[in-house]
Amino acid sequence: MVINIMQATRPGHSTMSASKPVIDKCVVNKLNFFYGDLQALKSISMTVYDKQITALIGPSGCGKSTFLRCFNRMHDLYSGNRYDGEIILHPDNENILSRKVDPIEIRMRIGMVFQKPNPFPKSIFENVAYGLRIRGVNNRSILEEKVETALHNAALWAEVKDRLNDLAFNLSGGQQQRLCIARALATDPELLLFDEPTSALDPAATASIEELITDLKNKVTILIVTHNMQQAARVSDYTAYMYVGELIEFGVTDTLFIKPQHKQTEDYITGRFG
């Protein structure tokens, strides 16, 4: 199958980014990924732009989560996984996938929010503070300030400010997910990865998370996996459509949804399969 990567151009009609030039944040170059002998990603090349929201869509099992988890080297946690190719992180031109690059350093710079809210069984405060604590921040007033900022940025502060010492498990599902976003934001990541962040949430909570993601884009670069095409259309600036480990089409979201270049993409977004 021919992999045709559409050269992404500046979204001229997108009001949000029309005034700012688009800068590269991550450049993926011929990325292959293997679970043991099984090749899960096949020669993927695309670019994630700075301070933009990029969505990864495709049917279940197409490798979009696998792809996302390459960005923070999550696959290193399990044996038998192998990367091939490169993901260049800008501005310092570092290959995330290089053996010489410490995955801990990558994860300190690139945050992640998971499919199911996964707060630690600790207090709300300690959940948000954990990332700072492992960076050696122990000064109470600095922690309090950063936790408050992160909770504000995750649109959760108003709801939890009077009960920061409550267990995180006592929050609702949507609040827990926003807590996880706050936890990831507290350490000022350069890139934030979202792995189907709303798939375990009800429609109201989903709407609030989507709104939050849109608001966050001025602060951080976002890469989001979603099984929900409407969500991709609503929140993202760029969209990549994947199918069985290959990148079929990548481009400005509006263009991809209105005038897809590939028959396969069109079939998927019009709901003919997937």
Partner: protein, 308 residues
């Protein structure tokens, strides 16, 4: 007409199925009663025989040739000290081994063999541990027939229990929690010490207590390493009046433990010693039940905070 016939057939069939329900219910109750009755018969027999002997003198007297003057002072002190050594030795070793196998060890043939062996060790007859300890601790390492040797022997015995409990407690923590910590940039050790260990502490503690409850009643390995059956003195106190206030002399002292004291009394011909044995047995059963109760209490309380 046809419909009614069909309905009747259906009811007959359901009634037939119900009979099996009732049959199993009765079988289950009988099986349970046999187990419970035997236990209660033993316990009540022990209470009737031993209760009159359970005076404060019984706890503060050394064994004696005169049954009415004999007590379990040296036995319960010995048991307590041996359990202390067992816990101090088995807990850090067992937890470290469990954490290593679960979080650090690569998943390959070697670790699989180790895993199977650890599980099998839990089923090795305790006297085998006694023989190993006799050769290793008593003679090779020259620890003699001491509290230290006994404590280490029982620690070996309960090590598999602690390891298995640790691993199971760790395994019950969802992968998403681990990944959450790693995704923030935590190292393996930070993940283990900040998350894995605190969240699995209830399960680990339960395993430790159940292991100790097993060790407290062990007789065979302690006899094998040569515990004395008649001891009329206490080991040196661990706390001293003058500097450095702590003494470890007791570790090397000869000792006896509760089950051995019981064994000693049971093997006497005099009827009165049998009553002493029953009283000591009662104390031992209560000790075990209290430990198990503590395990249940701790598990309940620590798990209240954590629900996956």
């Amino acid at each position: 007409m046809n419909h009614e016939k069909h309905l009747t057939e259906l009811r007959v069939m359901i009634a037939r199925h119900r009979r099996w329900d009732r049959l199993f219910l009765v079988t289950g109750i009988i099986a349970l009663m046999i187990a419970m009755l035997v236990f209660f018969a033993l316990l009540i027999g022990m209470i009737i025989d031993g209760m009159p002997r359970l005076t404060s003198d019984f706890f503060t007297s050394f064994p004696s040739r005169r049954p009415e003057a004999a007590g379990i002072l040296s036995a319960w002190v010995g048991t307590t000290l041996v359990m202390l050594v067992t816990a101090i030795a088995a807990v850090p070793l067992g937890i470290s081994a469990g954490v290593y196998l679960e979080e650090y060890a690569p998943k390959n043939l070697l670790t699989e063999i180790i895993e199977i062996n650890v599980t099998n060790l839990a089923g090795v007859p305790s006297i085998i541990y006694g023989l190993l300890a006799l050769g290793l601790f008593v003679y090779q390492l020259g620890l003699g027939q001491s509290i230290l040797a006994a404590g280490l022997t029982l620690a070996l015995l309960i090590l598999p229990v602690v390891i298995v409990a640790t691993r199971e407690a760790i395994r019950s923590i969802p992968v998403s929690i681990r990944e959450g910590a790693y995704a923030l940039g935590a190292t393996k050790w930070q993940t283990v010490s900040d998350h894995i260990l605190p969240y699995s502490s209830a399960g680990i503690l339960t395993g430790v207590i159940i292991g100790l409850a097993r060790a407290i009643g062990e007789t065979a390995p302690i006899i094998t390493i040569g515990a004395l059956t008649f001891i009329a003195f206490l080991p040196a106190s661990p706390v001293q009046g003058d500097f450095p206030f702590l003494s470890f002399e007791w570790l090397m002292a000869p000792f006896t433990v509760m089950p051995i004291q019981m064994f000693n009394w049971v093997s006497r011909p005099e009827e009165a010693f049998q009553l002493n044995a029953a009283a000591a047995g009662l104390v031992l059963v209560v000790m075990t039940l209290v430990m198990n109760g503590l395990a249940i209490y701790l598990r309940y309380n620590l798990r209240k905070k954590i629900k996956w």
